[in-house]
Amino acid sequence: MDLAYNEEYVEFRAEVQAFLKANKSSAPKGRMGWGQADDKSRTWQQLLIKHGYAARTIPKEYGGFGAEPDILKNHIIAEEFAIAGVRPGHSGDPRLVPVVLELGTEEQKHALVGPTIRGDMVWCQGYSEPGSGSDLASLSTKAVLEGDEWVINGQKIWTSGAQHADMIFCLVRTEPDAPKHQGISYLIFKMDTPGIEVRPLVTMTGEAIFNETFFTDVRVPKDQIIGRRGEGWFVANATLKHERGSLGDPNQLEGRFRSLVEMLKSEKIDGKPLIEFPIYRDRLLKLQARVLSMKCNGMRILTANTKNEEPGLARWIVKLLGCELNHQMAALAIDVMGELGVLYEDSPYLRNYGMWQRNYMLDLGLIIGGGTAQIQKNMIGERALGLPKEPKYDAI
């Protein structure tokens, strides 16, 4: 157990800090970069790639910085950017780029990776369908090969960013007679292909952060496929893993917890700070123990990753527990605000721009999305604890 960093890393951290100090003012405001396409973001991203703070391990030949993988350095970069409150860079769409690098053809790597990490090519994901949520592999959007083209018909849902995206990576059924996991292919195509219609999908928060995307006789060149025909399910699983890892991030938990403490210190009932109410304080403390546990659990995963060890249970639980914990923090925030906790939109007297009310709903969406809590528990039970799957059954 040694929580200090050795000299190489201490130096690296200093270098990052110096970079941030010098360049902070050039950084665009707001949330992380991919999916957005303004010039300031692109310039910033290019600067970061140049210094190795974005696309760090992506080979130079495809437009990246080309460093050896070093999880601690990644961690230091993320930490320092978070502390400085500077928007971090990205490695292109984190769901797509690793897949292209691992399974794409040489031609695809050259054509796709560079523009994507520079922010010139923005992607959306076409996986879920209205009838295929937890049971994603039952998807029914079809692609039929006609000559040199796939002809795609069907509907996707939860396609966030589809209205701004240049490209989509999409799971489609190409082998309708094969067992469900073996009949899927992973296609990539332009969003301005004729026959694609994007309709905003309003959620309970009142915002349209997602879309429904409809395909009517969309024609896509035959070679715009990653991996082989019928192997799309296995191609996609690599990307699902990447998405899952990002939910329940302990840095985010800690940041939210700090905001929550601030609120309990500054808000008052009848002139008395909320943190002096034992019942609210006790709930805060229970959450603190969980946040600290998840922070420590995160360090354990990080260490396992640096050693190429499998973190096991420590990793499996992150999504389930992290999302629930975020939701509970939002719930406490709303509770302590009392009547103020129901204000919304552009109402006066909003605290933190209404983020708690919004998060309370959004976090519930995240508990459901990317594998519901029930699916997570199945996975923990079966994959981490080795409990048997449900027996085979007759369809009902």
């Binding site: 949520g133 009932i269 719930a331 509770d335 009547e339 006066p348 969406g365």
Partner: protein
């Protein structure tokens, strides 16, 4: 000994529910919400024809003269339909305040109008529960100065009942000089809460409330009970919708309700919710018939329904999966209504502390 709804109460419940199902369906609610309408005129008119606005107002003041259990059945039905109408403030809290503390003239002047639907009252008592943004409401020579937040049904009101720092209750005309109203946007678009700023506004005290906090407390009790019943109705339909969805939605070649995890989520919601119905019946019955127990039961009804409502709102949404998170099924209207009910007139932690005080703990 009969702990059950009477035949008349079942008829009342049926007729309101049937009316709302046909005239206040989700499309109507959505339309009202999207246009920022918090008092849906046709529905309010329809309820008026059913006598709802005068439900607890005595017959001599042109009301229906029923009790709080009847009123709770109405509130439950309105919660089931997330109806955008000013029932809790205008039809319950304001009459309670007037009946408890109004002069004979005041009762005669306002109760028949409320019962007839000719006036809508907003009720501002939040500052007497917990002050957060405000510094109180002072009365001086028949004029009020200060700020009342979260005035229930205040957006569409013609008249207001406002509590001052001593807990005395006042009638205030919304259009009087020195009264400024601002709509407070909340998560729940089916109900209206307003901020009322008073700058030396003319006000008429309800005399019975001048040296007695009891009328204020009764007004708050009545509002809390109705909020609890509203949550019961909203949670009940969220359970029903979850069960229906679980019977219909298929994943992995099975309806999801055949999965033990989903089945147990539904069972847990039902288990939490079912005794709440009896609790509210008892609390509502107690208001007139077991007054010694009424405040304690009202506190528990509001606090407990807040907790159970939150659990059901979350769990039902989870049963609906991604669909529950979208606007497509409109499930969030109930989710948010339950959310608002929880926070108005005191969040559960504060109300439980009052339940302790009531018992001398």
């Amino acid at each position: 000994m009969e702990f059950a709804l009477s035949e008349e109460q079942r008829l009342l419940q049926d007729s309101i529910c049937r009316y709302l199902e046909s005239e206040c369906n989700l499309d109507r609610v959505r339309e009202a919400a999207e246009n920022n309408v918090t008092q849906q005129a046709e529905v309010w008119q329809g309820l008026s024809e059913l006598g709802i606005q005068g439900i607890i107002i005595p017959e001599e003041q042109a009301g229906v003269g029923l009790g709080f259990l009847d009123a709770a059945l109405v509130a439950e039905a309105l919660g089931r339909s997330v109806a955008p109408v000013p029932f809790i403030g205008s039809s319950i809290m304001a009459p309670v305040a007037l009946m408890a503390a109004g002069s004979d003239d005041q009762k005669e002047a306002w109760l028949p109008k409320i019962a007839a639907g000719d006036v809508v009252f907003g009720v501002g008592v939040t500052e007497q529960i917990a002050q957060r943004e405000t510094t109180g409401i002072k009365s001086d020579g028949g004029k009020l100065t200060g700020k009342a937040m979260f005035v229930i049904d205040g957006v569409d009101a013609n008249m207001l009942i406002i509590a001052d720092d001593d807990g005395a209750l006042y009638l205030v005309d919304v259009n009087a000089a020195g009264v400024t109203r601002q709509n407070l946007k909340t998560i729940d678009k089916t109900r209206a809460v307003a901020e009322i700023v008073l700058e030396g506004a003319a006000a008429e005290v309800l005399p019975g409330s001048q040296n007695d906090r009891e009328p204020l407390l009764k007004t708050i009790d009545a509002g809390r009970l109705m909020l609890a019943a509203d949550t019961l109705g909203a949670a009940d339909i969220m359970l029903e919708k979850a069960v229906a969805y679980a019977k219909e939605r298929k994943q992995f070649d099975r309806v999801i309700g055949s999965f033990q995890a989903v089945k147990h989520m539904c069972a847990e919601m039902a288990t939490e919710l079912e005794p709440c119905r009896s609790l509210i019946w008892y609390a509502a019955h107690a208001v007139y018939d077991i007054p010694d127990e009424a405040r304690l039961l009202t506190c528990h009804s509001k606090a407990h329904l807040s907790e159970v409502g939150r659990f059901v709102a979350k769990t039902s949404t989870e049963v609906h999966g991604g669909m529950g998170f979208t606007d497509l099924l409109g499930l969030h209207y109930w989710f948010k209504r339950i959310g608002l009910d929880r926070q108005l007139l005191g969040a559960p932690e504060l109300i439980r502390e009052q339940a302790a005080a009531v018992q001398g703990w």
